[in-house]
């Protein structure tokens, strides 16, 4: 019965989204305060409640292990721990699409409640959000029904892919989806603004908080995914330039460009067309990401639940969204107004350079990800485009962007003038620690790119510290101080990521060795002794757990697991972490060595300073959150402009700029 109710609720939400689209459109025509506008908002509420209830029913079906539902049978198992039964609800295709739809509906309701101040613009945005939701709810209702029955019902279920049975992976998809889908709100506001002929500045102010929130969540989602890949996939990588990762990285890069260009547009009216274009394309690339992940056109270590037919559906949704958005843009971009010119040493120029580099990087990632597909279509001999290509093309652009970043906060708007800014920053003084880090990396024999990234990381950290030191005092109101802190934290986060990435790229070679209990090996000056290997079975797996002592003190316990339900073997990595980095150990099966002794294949790696990557991502997310809070505290653009009048010239300019 639950499945039938769930299916009904999905259909109801689909209809509510159609009503939301049409009623809000009519409401916007009537100025945004009419009965039709209110009815559109009510429809958005119905869609949220219906989709939320459907999602809840799916979770309940997982808890009850109702294997008469095909999706539950395919992604759960009676023996699975409760947490992973629940997370199974969004661990596969249909369930994750239901989650996607629900979040779309939630953002629709969010726009209706706390959307743009201009009532007509708000109703129009709710209508566009309704259109985007309608597309995905149709996909859910007609091609991805999570409540499809299966007969006869299997007794035990097929189990969720064991490598997805992980606490981080339980929260990674929701985070990621809030990010992806959150960008839809920026799309909806941008499209609505084009219809309403709003000016670029007002529009940038209206969409900036939504873009900031979505991008921050996307950052957290990607970071959690990278962390998971680091310890779960078993070879210590955290970023593989894999098609699925690239699919999330493209909207992230454009989102990062958007949250910066929107500042310049809101405050100075610079880049109005570009900001709106970014808001449109960032969400279109989110759908492209869903297409790449779900359609199976690209093989990937992360591509779960592949189905070409679904690919055609997603391509259709991509087409409708892109055509609607870009046609509007082509027709109405003129109404956004023109930005003023600026000097090469102005804040606008630095934000422009940031956007240039981030957008070109996104373009490079897109070309690299799709090129094998193009080669395949042309019938040419297949090629692979992997990490070495992206490290040669995309990474240098990102390092350059990070190198410019610390100075941006010290550049005045419009007329520019680098000298006072750099003096205030005491840039020459900061070069000492930067040079120190560069020399240290060279001394460790790091690759060229890692030396550059390390130096830039140190530079960014110094710049962020200086940013707070100089601008905190100058900021008069709490919101402005919060904004300065947010900016400095996020930029320091970039610095830590660059440093951590550089250190990890300079790590010593991995060591594989067959060890018998009692034997030792050495990596990065640390001795590892295999003490014993024992059976350590879990609720739904069998495991061999090795005990490896590091330097005679701490103990690391990697495992090798076999999940009978999924008939899959996984390696659970053992990590020994301290401030210098992680000892990373995985253990293979027992076999007889050449000398006739039973031994276990142990793979050991040392990942120096890898904690900096996690800390950096955390700081970027915190910084994004603070900037959003500051933006909401500062309130509507009208009040912010009043604040502009009283601010002092010079240093306060930079601080206030971010706050307003």
């Amino acid at each position: 019965m639950i499945a039938e109710i769930g299916r009904y609720l999905v259909a109801l939400a689909f209809l509510a989204c159609i009503a939301q689209t049409l009623l809000s459109w009519r409401g916007a025509d009537q100025g945004g305060r009419s009965g039709a506008a209110r009815a559109g908002a009510a429809a958005a509420e119905i869609a949220v409640i219906a989709a939320g209830a459907a999602f809840l029913l799916l979770v309940i079906s997982f808890i009850r292990s109702d294997f008469s539902i095909a999706y539950v049978a395919a992604n759960s198992h009676v023996d699975k721990p409760l947490l992973y039964k629940i997370s199974g609800a969004w661990g596969g295709h249909e369930g994750s699409m239901l989650l996607w739809c629900w979040i779309l509906a939630l953002f629709g309701l969010g726009l209706a409640r706390i959307g743009p101040k201009d009532a007509a613009l708000r109703a129009r945005a709710v209508s566009f959000q309704g259109l985007l939701s309608t597309l995905f709810f149709a996909f859910l209702a007609f091609a991805s029904n999570p409540f499809e029955r299966v007969f006869p019902a299997p007794i035990r279920g097929a189990d969720l892919n064991p490598i997805l049975q992980d606490p981080l992976l339980a929260i990674h998809p929701p985070m990621l989806y809030v990010g992806y889908v959150g960008l839809s709100a920026a799309f909806a506001i941008a499209a609505a603004g084009l219809v309403q002929r709003s000016g670029g500045r007002a529009l940038a102010g209206a969409l900036r908080p939504w873009a900031l929130g979505a991008w921050t969540s996307l950052t957290a989602g990607i970071a959690l995914g990278a962390w998971w890949a680091y310890y779960e996939l078993g070879w210590g990588g955290w970023w593989f330039w894999d098609p699925v990762e690239n699919a999330s990285f493209m909207p992230w890069l454009l989102g990062a460009a958007l949250v910066h260009s929107a500042i310049a547009t809101e405050k100075r009216g610079a880049f109005p067309g570009w900001t709106v274009f970014l808001a449109l394309i960032a969400y279109v690339l989110s759908i492209l990401g869903a297409f790449l992940v779900r359609s199976g056109v690209l093989t990937s270590v992360h591509a779960f639940a592949l189905d070409p037919e679904r690919g055609v559906w997603i391509l259709g949704m991509l087409g409708v969204s892109a055509v609607a958005g870009f046609a509007l843009f082509a027709l109405r971009a003129g109404s956004l107004g023109e930005g003023d010119g600026f000097e090469p040493t102005s804040r606008e120029a630095f934000i422009g350079a940031n956007n240039l580099l981030l957008a070109v990087t996104a373009g490079v990632v897109m070309v690299g990800t799709l090129y094998p597909l193009f080669v395949d279509i042309m019938g040419w001999p297949m090629i692979s485009v992997g990490p070495p290509y992206f490290d040669a093309s995309a990474t240098p652009l990102l390092i350059l962007a990070a190198a410019l970043m610390p100075m941006a906060a010290f550049m005045p708007w419009a007329n520019g003038g680098a000298k006072p800014g750099l003096k205030q920053m005491r840039a020459a003084f900061l070069l000492v620690p930067v040079a120190g880090v560069i020399i240290a990396f060279i001394a460790f024999g790091a690759p060229v790119l890692a030396v550059a990234a390390g130096g830039v990381g140190a530079w960014a950290l110094c710049g962020a510290a200086m940013d707070v030191g100089v601008h905190w005092k100058a900021a008069k109101v709490r919101a402005a101080r919060l904004a300065v802190t947010g900016r400095a934290l996020a930029h320091a986060g970039v610095g830590f990521i660059a440093l951590g990435g550089a250190a990890d790229a300079s790590r010593p070679p991995d060591i594989h060795r067959a060890l018998a209990p009692g034997e030792s090996m050495t990596i990065a000056g640390r001795s590892l002794t295999l003490e014993e290997v024992r059976r350590a079975d879990g609720p739904n797996f069998m495991a061999d757990r090795a005990t490896i002592r590091v330097d005679g003190r701490s103990v690391v316990r990697p495992e090798r697991r076999f999940y009978p339900a999924a008939n899959q073997t996984t390696r659970e990595v053992g990590l020994g972490s301290d401030l210098r980095g992680d000892i990373y150990l995985s253990v293979g099966e027992a076999r007889t060595r050449e000398d006739g002794v039973m031994a276990y294949e142990v793979r050991a790696a040392f990942h120096p300073l890898v904690w900096m990557l996690g800390l950096g991502a955390f700081l970027v997310v915190m910084g994004g959150g603070l900037a959003l809070t500051a933006r909401l505290m500062a309130g509507a653009p009208a009040r912010a402009r009043a604040g502009d009048g009283v601010k002092a010239a010079g240093t306060a300019d930079a601080a206030q700029a971010r706050a307003t």
């Binding site: 894999d242 270590v301 090469p344």
Partner: protein, 123 residues
Amino acid sequence: MMLKAALMALALQAGQPQLAPEDEARAQAMMREVRCMVCAGESVMDSNAPMAQDMRRYIREQVAEGRSDADLRQAMVERFGHEVLMRPAFEARTAPLWIAPLVLLLLGGALFFTAMRKPRTRA
């Protein structure tokens, strides 16, 4: 089947040459550039598939014999096709891939300069 794979892995792992540290680093760098042909986009360094182990052993042997990286790449391509290299070589059919970043930079740069050179309406 699993037993067979395990046996194969065992046979292949035996007799891996032990390399000097700098040779091992070169071999591992090469392993990161060579794709495991039976896996989904993993390098032979990252994969635990028997074929990846086979290729790791092959690379170590070749490095031990003092073969240059370029020679080794050529040998891989002859055996497995261009798909084996994670960094495509520069040639007619991959040229757009390598030129694209420059074209995008030029286009974006042009947009940037247009925006910068616009007339000022405010002080």
